[in-house]
């Protein structure tokens, strides 16, 4: 369970996020929406240690994560994808995934050089895990290709796989559907649900596609100018006047 209390940060004079509260139960699927520049990505950055919060507290399964470095946060069990795809373009797809998995091993330099049996085991296990994941998402055939050679949609998928490879208990997805066409978005919605069920992770999702968000999220948090203006079930949010004014606009259910 991810618990966030009164999280806040400002850049210069700009209060990017203020008093952000969230309780994300295990295996929950929540949405985070809001206009551009509302501070959604900033929330992710705060949760993952890329920015250090100036106020508030943050804990995962009771473990305090405040002040942790990004890699420590990941080790503690929060994984994310990026709004602008950030794969390792010159590494193979397999390596991209393996790399994320190796947070769960503690390699030694000496055994790496000597290639001890233990080292071989570790590496083999790592590779097997990575291949399993790729197989689940149907990318096993391209394991050897460089990540930069994937099409956009596949890159998005690979980012999610890579995040899952860290064996997280919370998965943060930043606009996973951006740049997908409506048909692909449907497929994505499907797989997000499956991921949640199969990997038993809690998911927090940033997305501008309302259809998708309303469709799959159990609860939704709406940010505007760094402030939470509404929180609740899709129905509540959809009918909230503040949300309509600030975000959805008059013709919300069009598109």
């Amino acid at each position: 369970m991810l618990e966030v209390k009164d999280l806040g940060i400002s850049f210069g004079g700009l209060k990017a996020v203020q008093n952000f509260n969230l309780t994300l139960p295990s295996a929950g699927l929540y949405g985070l929406i809001g206009p551009n520049g509302a501070g959604k990505t900033t929330v992710f950055n705060l949760l993952t240690g890329i920015y250090q919060p100036q106020t508030g507290s943050l804990s995962l399964n009771g473990k305090n994560l405040l002040g942790c470095k990004p890699h420590e946060v990941t080790a503690a069990g929060i994984a994310r994808t990026f709004q602008n795809i950030r794969l390792f373009p010159n590494l193979s797809i397999l390596d991209n995934v393996r790399l994320a998995g190796q947070i769960r091993i503690r390699p030694k330099l000496v055994s790496t050089f000597l290639r001890t049996n233990g080292y071989r085991e570790q590496e083999a296990a790592l590779k097997a895990q990575a291949m399993d994941l790729l197989e689940i998402f149907d990318l096993q055939d391209r394991a050897e290709d460089l990540a930069q050679n994937l099409s956009y949609g596949h890159q998005r998928r690979l980012e999610i796989i890579r995040a899952l490879a860290t064996k997280p208990s919370v998965l943060l997805l930043d606009e996973p559907a951006a740049g997908l066409n409506p048909q692909e978005k449907l497929a994505l919605a499907q797989s997000i649900r499956q991921i949640r069920d199969r990997f038993e992770v809690a998911i927090l999702l940033i997305e501008h596609d309302m259809q998708l968000v309303m469709d799959i999220c159990e609860r939704i948090v709406v940010l505007d100018h760094g402030v939470t203006i509404c929180e609740g079930t899709p129905q509540t949010v959809q009918n909230d006047e503040k949300v309509i004014a600030a975000y959805l606009g008059a013709i919300a259910d069009d598109a």
């Binding site: 993952t48 080790a75 990026f82 390792f88 590494l91 790399l99 790496t112």
Partner: protein, 372 residues
Amino acid sequence: MSASDVLIEPTSHGVNILKSAAPILVGIALAVGIQFLLPSTVGPYYSRLVIDAGIAMILAVSLNIVNGMTGQFSIGHAGFMTIGAYTAGSITFYSSLLIWGTAAKHGSFLGSGEWMFVIACLCGGITASIAGFVVGLPSLRLRGDYLAIVTLGFGEILRVLLQQTGKVVDNAEIVRNAPLTTFATVPVGGAIGFDGIPKYTTLFWVYAFLAITVIFAYRLKRSSFGRAMLSVREDEIAAQAMGINTSRQKLLAFITAAFFAGVGGGLLAHESGVIISPKDAGFQRSFDYVIMTVLGGRGSITGVMLAAILLSGLPEVLRDFERYRIIIYAALLIFMMLSRPQGLFGIHEIWDFFPRSWKTLPWKKSPREEAQ
């Protein structure tokens, strides 16, 4: 789910000699072969060039760990080399004086003198890696060109400091009886350089160390460490988000690279016809190695080795051109860079270029399978 309960722990240790140690043993065997076959076939001059190429490869391959694999930009590699050289040199020089009363070579192939030399080289590597740690620290805060200029500054500072060192004390009696304070001036020769170091470096030792360096670099690159380093090169923020401790990886890269550079320096210090001098720490020498790594290709070990051979041999090949030598060298350098902007092998290793059928020969495993 917490981190610890999914930790993959190795269940068995030990080394499968056939699979794991064979390359190292083969490398050392090759080194023995070179040592005994090469000088008699090509003569001392070309043997010397082969030694020089070997040392250049050690340095370039090690620099490649920092510049090519981790994507940090160090132009102070010659500084680490020089630290290794001076450390190793002082150890053999002064211990020889103390033990045998003279700094001349002691013992023959694999004799006691050579073992002292090997230990000295390793000590040189260790001292250099300590320096690597210190110089690596700024890399945690600095990026790209800023880091480059700091590493360059490190080399220059080292050069000036070495110029201020004291004269070499080459009399065994004085060394034995001198109070420790004589050593406060750091008697390693000052501007004139450290002369009189026993010349132990042979083809065997250079290529044995090279084999170890290359195998280490290769295994590093294909291991979790290597992938972590590559990820730092590719995208630092994403790497952090994947749980990579980027600071640690950068420092590790600096430390290991500096270690091998230090060993290379040790070899250099004991090469005949070489006087290590403060100039060696300067930026010009560092440039040489940076050029090798870039020309070889980012992170490509074999590419960098080839580049090191080409670039260390080229000035010798062109020696007959006297005053036009460096002009031709520079022109060729520019030409090579323009014709292969991604480096000789790009991000690949040499065997990636072989036709597939070669790689499936029964005795040659593809790197892919090897990793399994």
